[in-house]
């Protein structure tokens, strides 16, 4: 009798285990296997089509050629770094020798001026987009909250926002470039002008979605919550701090995610157009270079741009999940 029950228990436990295993398996299929199948099919079509397309720069690159270029790009980066350390070592040795010969000699230290590699350009683009985005957030979020709180201010600013919102930030680029060269005059600039140009362009395109969403978030706060604040006689600062900001956080984040996505797209185009360092310049340089590898290298850059854009969005989402109380707006 007792052995029978224990046997039963054992089978039951085994079945339960099997159930969880199966459930886990089906989840794995959904989250990993199916997307993987999609990617494989895409790669197959890409490879098949690329084979049949001939351009003046040779065959259109397939997945294999692009993968190879990723390797080459990394190799070039490492070689460049080796050259750079070599350069500084030689400079140090040279300076030491001259110091030994003549104690009064002032050693000259020159920076290395090699070509920026693919990885350098990625870092430059990321720094540019993040700084432009942060500057925009610092301006736009307080402005949006103020506009949401004050109907008069809203009426005054709204037409300006509505006019500037649909303008492609690239249209600003020439104006920004001229403005920066006119106002930012320094013989030894701490921040490169080209960096400022792209950064300001990014800021301009981030501004509007963030202002609009922040003000909308503030303006659409539940009236009952405002009444709670009135009944409690919360002073203005506390009202903003305890009611307005927390209530509009979900909308503010929606605006931030939207503008970061747009900013990344715009930045690449701005770099291409303005020839300021970054991934966009890399793409343009490769295009102008026109070697047989160029298309594969551009394709590698395209994939990288997409992947980084995806990571930026996921990053914002992760921050939103940590900060926002409203988990329903923080999905996807």
């Amino acid at each position: 009798m007792s052995t029978a029950t224990s046997l039963n228990d054992e089978t039951e436990a085994r079945i339960a285990w099997l159930d969880t295993a199966l459930e886990f398996g089906s989840k794995a299929v959904k989250t990993i296997a199916i997307p993987l199948v999609g990617i494989v099919i895409f790669l197959f079509f890409w490879a098949a089509t690329a084979q049949n397309v001939k351009t003046s720069l040779g065959q259109f690159p397939g997945p294999a050629a692009v993968l190879e270029q990723f390797g080459t790009l990394y190799e070039e980066h490492r070689n460049e770094r080796v050259k750079e350390t070599g350069f500084y070592e030689r400079q140090d040795v040279r300076n030491a020798k001259r110091m030994a010969a003549d104690p009064g000699y002032q050693p000259k230290v020159r920076g290395y001026t090699g070509k920026e590699t693919f990885l350098d350009q990625i870092v430059t683009s990321l720094i540019t987009v993040m700084s432009g985005f942060l500057v925009a957030a610092i301006i736009a979020i307080p402005l949006g909250i103020a506009i949401g709180l004050n109907k008069t201010l809203n009426a005054a600013v709204n037409p300006i926002i509505q006019i500037f919102k649909p303008v492609s930030p690239l249209a600003w680029l020439p104006l920004v470039t001229m403005l920066v060269s006119a106002t930012y005059v320094s013989s030894d600039p701490m921040i490169a002008k080209s960096f400022l140009n792209s950064m300001i362009t990014v800021t301009l395109c981030c501004l509007w979605p963030m202002v609009i969403n922040s003000s909308l978030g503030v303006a659409s706060i539940n009236k009952d919550l405002i009444n709670v604040s009135k009944v409690l006689r919360l002073p203005a600062i506390k009202h903003v701090q305890k009611i307005v900001i927390p209530a509009s956080i979900p909308m503010i984040f929606t605006g931030m995610r939207m503008s970061l996505g747009v900013a990344w797209m715009v930045l690449i185009a701005a770099e291409m157009l303005a020839q300021s360092p970054g991934l966009g310049k890399f793409v343009w340089d490769e295009f102008q270079n026109g070697s047989s590898n160029s298309l594969a290298r551009i394709m590698a850059a395209v994939l990288m741009i997409g992947f980084i854009g995806f990571l930026l969005d996921r990053g914002m989402l992760a921050i939103q999940r940590r900060v926002s109380w409203d988990k329903s707006t923080a999905s996807n």
Partner: protein, 280 residues
């Protein structure tokens, strides 16, 4: 008992594109200390407007509200409001929602320990001490309303204003909440104005029922004294002839004297229009 609140001749006009819409006309009511008064009437009769004027959220076009001999001009915690839709801050836990009110009202009058004790005391009063750290989206509708009541009670108001506090709850939860409210009322003896749609609720809870006529230009139609013994028990009262009589008085007022003449759909659009005008 002394007179606590004097609503004196208040009228309320809302501006609309077609000229002012008179929602209330000459509403006068005196409320004693510790009295529980219900306002009952059909939708759109301006019950909420009366409450909002007393709360200070609306300004009466003419007339005024006097609390303890002082005129009411703006909202304040001495007239705490329990809103129909709980209106808890969704990013704060039950404890923190009450805490915001307590800190604002008492500030440095209470030490940290006293503040904590007072918050917990009020949550215990509404039987929510087991879920103090839960956020509004993690608790049921009835529980949210309890926290809303705890928040209002924690302000130690001179008068408690309740705007259909149980209107959004299912019948069983509502009965349970009414019993809790009677217990709390027996303990604290607050002065309360409650708006309700529910005839049984009005008779069960109130000392007086104020019945309002239909709008526009709504005013007080009749006032019914509810002289039932306290504590009241809903089961015993259900067959009590006095209770049955009071109940039928209210029903008669609502469905005979103040029967809505216009068809239901027509009435609704009118209400909607006036609401739109109000929003604009």
């Amino acid at each position: 008992m002394s007179e606590k609140l004097d609503i004196s001749n208040i009228s309320m006009d809302f501006p609309t594109p077609n000229g002012p819409f008179t929602a209330l006309k000459d509403v006068s009511l005196k409320i004693r200390e510790g009295e529980f008064v219900s306002l009952i009437g059909h939708s759109g009769c301006g019950k909420s407007t009366v409450l909002n004027v007393v709360a200070g959220l609306h300004q009466a076009t003419s007339g005024g509200v006097i609390l303890n001999g002082k005129e009411v001009k703006e909202p304040g915690p001495e007239r705490a409001v329990v809103f129909q839709n709980h209106s808890l801050l969704p990013w704060l836990s039950a404890y923190e929602n009450v805490e915001l009110a307590v800190k604002q009202v008492f500030g440095s009058d209470k030490t940290k320990a006293e503040t904590k004790e007072w918050i917990e005391h009020n949550l215990k009063l509404v039987h929510m001490d087991h879920a103090m750290d839960k956020r509004p989206d993690e608790i049921s509708g009835g529980m949210k309303q309890r926290v809303g009541i705890a928040r209002a009670l924690a302000m130690q108001p001179e008068i408690l204003l309740m705007d259909e506090p149980f209107g959004a709850l299912d019948a069983l939860t509502r009965a349970h909440m009414q019993d809790s409210l009677m217990d709390i009322q027996a303990e604290l003896n607050n002065t309360v104005i409650m708006i309700t749609h529910d005839v049984d609720e009005a008779v069960l809870l109130s000392d007086r029922i104020v019945m309002m006529t239909n709008g526009p230009a709504a005013t007080i139609g009749e006032i019914l004294e509810v002289d039932l013994e306290r504590p009241r028990d809903r089961l015993a009262l259900a067959e009590d002839p006095k209770y049955v009589h009071l109940r039928s008085e209210v029903l008669k007022f609502l469905y005979e004297k103040q029967r809505k003449v216009e068809s239901i759909s027509g009435g609704k659009t009118k209400v909607k229009k006036s609401l739109k005008a109000r929003a604009a």
